[in-house]
């Protein structure tokens, strides 16, 4: 059967405050019948996407298509989409039967048909005989089932689930995961599931969309998300990972941890890369048999195995071992080539993190950034003595963690050391079609990425000119 896009999210941007988008130019298609999970840390915009699909929010820009028809502005009651809400949102004044029948009654369905449908759906969620029960007499898990029943009884084309298992205890959650999964294959309805729990996302979904800051980081099968994350964020967010900086030093060769490794990748020689190895793929062996030798610095029992941290030079590697290893003991490390995942180093943005000091500046080793607070916190203003939020509450800014970004394309290199903000030496040059990408390493060993159309040589001493208005700040 030819796969058909059921939902098409096209270049959607959503901002609640002007020019401060929660979702930025996001495009995503959802296939008919798939179990899609939106995964990300809180505040990444996953719930906003779900609410736009449900019709509770409208996109600021872009549109959402359902079977080719634009539904961006369609009110929720007209969409063939139903939602299982985070805290169930069951009507407390109605019993189980009337809660489930609510949607069907809105459609003015004949009474006996409603009865058959409600009974049928109660069977699916395993709550036969609960018709007359009041909502307050049900346990969390039972309420959850009623909420699911209330949504699926309407036979929606898409079922939206907003962290539906968040309020359940661990065992209950695992049971419900399996049940939701089998319900999905039984009903054949498209599920769009929102969670911040990566384990849940990996076990349940056909496809996982990892989000951060309103941008899709990766959309792929659970296996690929885990084994082949597309960037450090995904690698770090999903599971436990060891990530190292390195360079490509040949076809199927890369150098990291001060050693050249055989591994599989399609990066060009000389490119900066990140290598990722999952702890279960790090084998701890006798010291003379390993590719690397390290020293055990901590061991922690985590239930089914020991999480062991090994120091190799300045780096640390996390591995799982079946036995308790003594601290300070020497150990060998072996990694198979197929277990090393190489990711292109993200040079598309310069990103720094620092804390605000008393003068509301971010002092880093090389540069001092003075952000405009009113742009960092939307609506913030200074009443002459203190900064206040849009709600007029005083802001405690000192010590706040701030992210600083600037685009490599927005900065320039100069041979006049006084002209720029930072002085350093060119560490690498990559020619990309019409311009060069430079890595400039400062005396304090910080790396800056600069796009420049002029050719400089490795080792040249340059200063980096960063226009103030191009620097972006974000609260962490």
């Amino acid at each position: 059967m030819e796969k058909e896009h059921l939902i098409e999210i096209e270049n959607v941007t959503k901002s609640y405050v002007k020019d401060c988008p929660v979702i930025e130019n996001l495009s995503l298609s959802i296939e008919r019948g798939e179990f899609l999970t939106l995964l990300g840390p809180s505040g990444c915009g996953k719930t906003t996407i779900l609410r736009m699909l449900g019709g509770f929010e409208t996109p600021t820009e872009g549109r959402i298509l359902l079977e080719g028809q634009d539904i961006s502005l369609m009110p929720p009651n007209l969409r063939p989409i139903n939602t299982v809400f985070q805290k169930y949102a069951l009507f407390p004044f109605l019993n189980v039967y009337d809660n489930i029948a609510f949607g069907l009654k809105q459609k003015k369905m004949p009474k006996d048909l409603i009865r058959t449908k409600v009974e049928n759906v109660l069977e699916i969620v395993d709550l036969e005989g609960f018709e007359k029960r009041q909502i307050s007499t049900l346990s969390g898990g039972q309420q959850q089932r009623v909420a699911i029943a209330r949504a699926i009884v309407n036979e929606p084309q898409i079922l939206l689930l907003d962290e539906p298992l968040g309020a359940l205890d661990y065992k209950m959650r695992q049971e419900m995961q399996l049940e939701l999964r089998s319900m999905h294959s039984e009903l054949g309805i498209t599920f769009v599931y929102v969670t911040h729990d990566q384990q849940e996302a990996l076990t349940m979904s056909d496809r996982v969309v990892v989000l951060a800051d309103g941008i899709i980081q990766q959309a792929d099968t659970p296996e690929n998300i885990y084994r082949k994350p597309s960037n450090i964020f995904v690698a770090d967010f999903i599971g436990v990972s060891n990530i190292f900086n390195g360079f490509v030093t040949g076809s199927n060769r890369a150098t990291f941890l001060s050693k050249e490794w055989k591994c599989y990748h399609d990066q060009a020689q000389g490119h900066k890369i990140n290598a990722m190895i999952r702890p279960e793929n790090v084998r701890l062996v006798e010291s003379e048999k390993g590719h690397l030798v390290g020293k055990v610095i901590s061991t922690m029992f985590i239930g089914n195995t020991y999480e062991t941290t090994v120091a190799v030079g300045k780096n640390e590697i996390t591995a799982y071992s079946e036995e308790l290893l003594e601290n300070e003991s020497e150990i060998g490390i072996k990694i198979k080539p197929e277990n090393i995942h190489i990711m292109p180093f993200d040079m598309s943005i310069n990103r720094f993190v620092g804390n605000l000091n008393e003068d509301l500046q971010i002092v880093l080793e090389d540069i001092v950034f003075s952000p405009d607070i009113s742009k960092v916190i939307p609506g913030a203003y200074n009443d002459g003595t203190t900064w206040r939020s849009a709600e007029k509450k005083p802001l405690l800014l000192k010590g706040k963690k701030i992210e600083v970004f600037f685009d490599p394309a927005d900065v320039k290199l100069s041979d006049d050391e006084a002209e720029g903000e930072v002085v350093g030496n060119i560490a690498s040059v990559i020619y990309i079609g019409d311009h060069y990408v430079y890595i400039v390493r400062s005396e304090n060993d910080w790396d800056y990425y600069v796009d420049d159309e002029w050719l400089w040589n490795v080792g040249d001493r340059v200063s980096i000119v960063i226009p103030k208005e191009k620097i972006r700040y974000k609260m962490v």
């Binding site: 007209l78 809400f85 459609k107 009041q134």
Partner: protein
């Protein structure tokens, strides 16, 4: 003697005895006796067989029912705007609702009288309408506040859930919002319906010469007819007991269903 926790209740007990129980006993005593101090039911029989007094009772009921209806009509949307309104001035508007309660209501009525006089030319032309305007003006905050309270507690996700399940805006109000705010509505009705029956000062001040229950009690007592005055009071008391019993039964049933609190 050591001061125990229960001793702290003594002043309250004394107060209760002196100002609640004792007056109730006195009222009951006078209601069921005649001028010679003999027990009798005649006071009640007279009241309920006299078309004039029965008319007063009906008129009072009508005045308070109409007052309650208009209070509800105005208070419900106001409370909704106050609790869910996203505009920044909503705290200010809430103040506007509460503030009149700090001013003596006869003063407010005097002001209202001037306004009505100016608009209508002669107050005597529309006595009933003026009474209702005065009563609604007086009791509106007592209707808004409990409804506002229950709207504040209302979970917005429930309204969204109803929309999600295919309910139109109107359907959401009728089938979800009204049941959710029912405790507030009931408590508002109780706080308006009963006092409105005896609030004869409004009628007096707005030149409505028709009697309501309050004026009846007032006129009996001012002519030293303790027995009939007590009888009317006892009748109203009974009425109050019945209404609050019904509303508390309703609230209990709701509480049982929802497992939540009712104001």
């Amino acid at each position: 003697m050591r001061l125990l926790r229960k001793h702290l209740g003594i002043p309250y007990g004394i107060f209760l005895g002196l100002f609640v129980v004792l007056p109730l006993i006195i009222v009951t005593y006078y209601a069921f006796t005649n001028g010679q101090g003999q027990p009798t039911m005649e006071n009640f029989l007279d009241f309920f067989s006299n078309p004039k007094t029965l008319g007063t009772l009906l008129y009072s009921l009508m005045v308070s029912a109409v007052t309650t209806f208009f209070c509800l009509l105005i208070a419900y949307p106001t409370a909704y705007i106050l609790s869910k309104g996203s505009f920044s001035g909503h705290a200010f508007i809430l103040m506007l609702v509460i503030m009149p309660m700090w001013i003596n209501f006869t003063l407010r009525l005097t002001a209202l009288k001037e306004v009505l006089d100016f608009v209508e030319g002669n107050l005597a032309l529309h006595p009933f309408m003026n009474t209702i305007i005065g009563q609604v003006y007086d009791f509106l905050p007592f209707m808004i506040l409990p409804i506002y309270n229950s709207m504040e507690k209302m979970d917005g996700a429930l309204l969204e859930a109803a929309r999600d399940l295919g309910a139109s805006q109107i359907s959401v109000i009728i089938r979800v919002m009204l049941p959710l705010t029912a405790p507030g509505i009931i408590s508002g009705i109780t706080m308006v319906l009963l006092p409105a029956m005896t609030n004869y000062v409004v009628l007096d001040m707005l030149y409505n010469s028709t009697f309501i229950m309050g004026s009846l009690i007032g006129s009996y007592f001012s002519s030293y007819d303790w027995h009939n005055g007590s009888m009317v009071s006892a009748t109203l008391l009974l009425f109050i007991v019945i209404v609050s019993w019904i509303s508390s039964r309703f609230a209990e049933a709701k509480q049982e269903k929802e497992g939540g609190n009712v104001i």
